[in-house]
Subunit: 414 residues, 2 copies
C-alpha cells in the first residue's frame, strides 16, 4: 500500500484503508454537501491495470513528423494517445491506444472545479542502436501513485503502466528524432471525471498519456539564467501538497514568474520562511555548490524532502551521481537547508562555486545571478562562462545513461 | 485594476501591468520550458464582456424539473449553460446561452495539467412574489476576479457578468422550486484552455456558468455535526493561495476529510501552526461564540483574512449582521485568531457558547463536538439541541434577505 510520510508527525496521509464505509445514520442528509462518498472506501483497492488487455485503434490520418529543428516543447503531439478509464465499481477498465483526440467532458466534471488532477513528465530516447529507452520510469510511477493517493484518485501497478507506456512509445517511434538532445516527452495524466459538484473522492477517473517530440533545451550549448528571489508568495509548506506533482501546484506559479520576467529575470527562486530557505527555481529543483568557510571542502547542496519541494527524479539522479563520482574527489554531498543570506555570504566571500536548476526538461540549468533584496548575487560563473563544472559533468553523465551510451539500471529499454 | 494585497509585505501580487513584453534576446530559447508567453502582458487588459451581444440558442429537448424532494446537491442541471470564450488577441468573445452540453477539449489543455481553474458558488432564490433574486453577487464577482488574476486568467467587468447571470437565471426560472430552503445553485467557472504543455499564462480561456436546483441543506431542521481536528495536514499558508477560490484548494482536502469520516466525524477542522489556530471547517469558515474569562462579555470570533482562510461571503454577511444586531446587545464581534487550546479551555470552563460553520450551502452548520488530541471538546450544545442561538438567528436573518422577506441592498432582483 502507498504510504506517504508527512514531515510534521510522520503519520501516513492517504485514503483510509478498505473498510466498511462508515455509516452516518442520522446525519447523512445533513452532511450531503461535504459528505464522504461511499466510493471512498474503494479507492484503496481498485482492480488493477491489465496490460494484456490493451486494445489498439490506429489513426486513419497519420501525421508527418515535424522537422526536428522546428520543435517547440509541448506543442506538437503524436498520432495516438493511451487512455485507461477507472470507475469505483469496476476498477481499471481496458487500456486503449487510440487516435489522439479531444476529451468530451460534462461541464460539472470534478477536474474543472476541484483540481482532481496529477501528472508526470518523462522522456523516451533513441539510442545509437535505434533502441527506444525510458529513463527511470519506476521513479515516475512511484511519484504518480503518491500524487494520485494524496487527492483520492485511484492508484495502480507501476509495472503495468510502464509496460503500456513502452508499447505506446514503440508505436510512436517514428516521432522520436535521432540525435543527442532529442526525445519524446511523455505526459501521463490522471484526472477525476465524476460529473457532480459535491466535494468528495471521485467515483470515476481517466488516466491518459500523450506524447510530444522535443528538441534539445540548449540547442547551441548552455545559456545561464538569472533569477529573482520571490519573498512575497509561498509555493509550498510543510504538511501541504507542494511535494506532489499535482496540477494544483502549477497555476499559482505563473504570476510570480511573470513578475520576475517583468524585471528581466528568466525565472523566480522560491524562498521559504523567515530564514529565507532556498527551495526551488521556477518548477525545477536547485543545487548549490559551495566551499566551506572553515575547512575549504567543496559541498554540493540541495534542499531536503521536507514537504516544501518536489522530489525531482533529475534531483535524485544528480544526488546519486554526485555520491558516486564527486564524493571520491572529496566533495560533501548534502540534502540540507541553505538560506539566501548564507548563499549571499558565500558569494561575497568567493566561496560560491556554482548554482544550477535540475529538471526533466533541461537536465541542468546553470544560474548566473540572483536578484534578492536589491542585491544581485553573483553565482560564481565567469562572464564568458555559461555553465560551471558540476553542471557540465552532470549533464554529460545523465545523458550517457538516458541515451544508453552507458548501460545502467536507470535505463529501461522498451 | 485588481490588486490583492499580500499579508507578508503588502505588495500586490497580480499579472504585471500591460507593458511591452520583456525581450530576452539571447536567452529566449534557453527558457522555453518555463518561459513567459507574450500573451501574459494582455491578461491585464482584456476586451471586456459585453452582455448586449448575448446570443441564445434554446434546447430542443427541455427537461422536466425533478421533484424538489429528490434533489441532491450538484447532480441535476438545468437545460442550458452560459459560456464566454476569451482569447489573448480578441479578449472576451460573444456571450452565449446554449443547451447544457459536454466540453470538448484537447488532452493537452492546460486546465487538465496545471489547474488553471477557479470558480464561485452562489444561489438564485424565488421570493414570495415570484421574483428571482441573487444574494450579494457583487461579492462573488469581486472574489472571482481576484481568483482569476492570481492564476493569470483574464478578469472582467463584474456588472456585465451579473447581468448575464441574471438573464441566464431568468431563462431557467422554472427549475427553481418554490419554498424556503430551495434555490438554484449557480457555478460560475473559469478554466484555461490553451492546448500546449509549456507552463505560462494561458492564451485562451473559457468562462461557463451551470445551474443546479437544490433543496434545503437541513430538510428537517438543523443537525449538529462533529469534527476531527486535522493537525497532520495543512490546507493553507500565508503567501499561498488558500484565500482564493481556486480548484487547487479543494482536491487536497478530500483525504483529511475521509480520515475524519473513517473515525465517525462528519467534517475535519483545519488547524494552523504550532499554536494550533482554528482556521476552517471542511470547506466552510468557522465561528466561535465564547464568554470572556475576565469580563464575562460574549464574543463572536472568526479567523481573520490573513491568507489562511477563504473570505466567505456568508462569513462576511454574518460579521455584518452580528455588528448590526448582536453588538447592540453587548456582544463583541471579532476577526481574530483563536487557538484550539483556548477553545478547549473555554469548553472546560463552560464559557464556550456555541460553534458553527458558515458557507453558501448550509448558511450555518452547528458543531456539537471536536475531536482533538484524544479529547472530545464539547462545543456548548445541550444533548437535545441541534443548534445554538446565534446560529439560529443568523440563518433566519440571512434567509430573510436571500428570499427578499426583508428588502436589503444584499439582494439583487433579476
Amino acid at each position: 500500500m502507498l504510504r506517504q510520510l508527512l514531515p510534521r508527525c510522520g503519520r501516513a496521509l492517504r485514503a483510509p484503508a478498505s473498510r466498511t464505509p462508515y455509516a452516518l445514520p442520522t446525519l447523512q442528509r445533513a452532511s450531503r454537501w461535504y459528505s464522504i462518498q461511499p466510493e471512498a472506501a474503494s479507492v484503496a483497492k481498485p482492480l488493477d491495470i491489465d496490460p494484456t488487455k490493451l486494445s489498439i485503434t490506429k489513426t486513419q490520418n497519420p501525421k508527418t513528423p515535424k522537422d526536428p529543428s522546428e520543435l517547440v516543447f509541448g506543442r506538437e503531439f503524436t498520432d495516438h494517445m493511451l487512455t485507461i478509464e477507472w470507475t469505483k465499481n469496476d476498477g481499471w477498465l481496458t487500456p486503449t491506444i487510440q487516435p489522439y483526440q479531444n476529451l468530451s467532458l460534462d461541464p460539472a466534471t470534478c477536474v474543472f472545479h476541484y483540481a482532481f488532477e496529477c501528472f508526470e513528465g518523462m522522456k523516451a530516447y533513441r539510442d545509437s542502436k535505434g533502441q527506444i529507452r525510458l529513463f527511470r520510469p519506476d521513479k515516475n510511477m512511484e511519484r504518480f501513485n503518491k500524487s494520485a493517493a494524496r487527492i483520492a484518485l485511484p492508484t495502480f501497478s507501476p509495472t503495468s503502466l510502464i509496460d503500456l507506456i513502452a508499447k505506446f512509445v514503440k508505436l510512436e517511434e517514428r516521432f522520436i528524432p535521432d540525435g543527442r538532445g532529442y526525445s519524446l516527452y511523455l505526459r501521463p495524466t490522471l484526472i477525476g471525471t465524476q460529473k457532480t459538484l459535491g466535494i468528495g473522492a471521485p467515483g470515476s477517473a481517466l488516466l491518459f498519456v500523450i506524447a510530444s517530440p522535443v528538441g534539445p533545451y540548449y540547442p547551441t550549448g548552455f545559456k545561464a539564467v538569472s533569477l529573482e528571489a520571490t519573498d512575497y508568495a509561498v509555493r509550498a509548506w510543510p504538511g501541504g501538497v507542494g511535494d506532489k506533482k499535482l496540477g494544483a501546484n502549477y497555476a499559482p506559479c505563473i504570476v510570480p514568474q511573470m513578475e520576475a520576467a517583468s524585471r528581466g529575470f528568466q525565472q523566480n527562486l522560491w524562498l521559504f520562511g523567515p530564514e529565507e530557505y532556498v527551495t526551488e527555481v521556477g518548477t525545477m529543483n536547485l543545487f548549490v555548490a559551495i566551499r566551506n568557510k572553515e575547512t575549504n571542502q567543496k559541498e554540493l547542496i540541495t534542499a531536503p524532502l521536507d514537504g516544501t519541494i518536489l522530489g525531482g527524479i533529475t534531483r535524485d539522479s544528480i544526488l546519486s551521481l554526485a555520491r558516486e563520482k564527486l564524493a571520491p574527489d572529496g566533495w560533501l554531498i548534502s540534502e540540507r537547508k541553505i538560506t539566501m543570506p548564507q548563499l549571499y555570504e558565500a558569494s561575497l566571500e568567493g566561496r560560491l562555486i556554482e548554482v544550477f536548476g535540475a529538471g526533466t526538461a533541461a537536465v541542468v540549468s546553470p544560474v548566473r545571478k540572483i536578484s534578492w533584496k536589491g542585491k544581485l548575487v553573483d553565482c560564481g560563473l565567469a562572464e564568458n562562462e555559461e555553465s560551471g563544472e558540476v553542471a557540465n559533468k552532470m549533464k554529460t553523465w545523465i545523458e550517457a545513461r538516458q541515451y544508453g551510451d552507458e548501460e545502467h539500471e536507470w535505463s529501461h529499454i522498451c
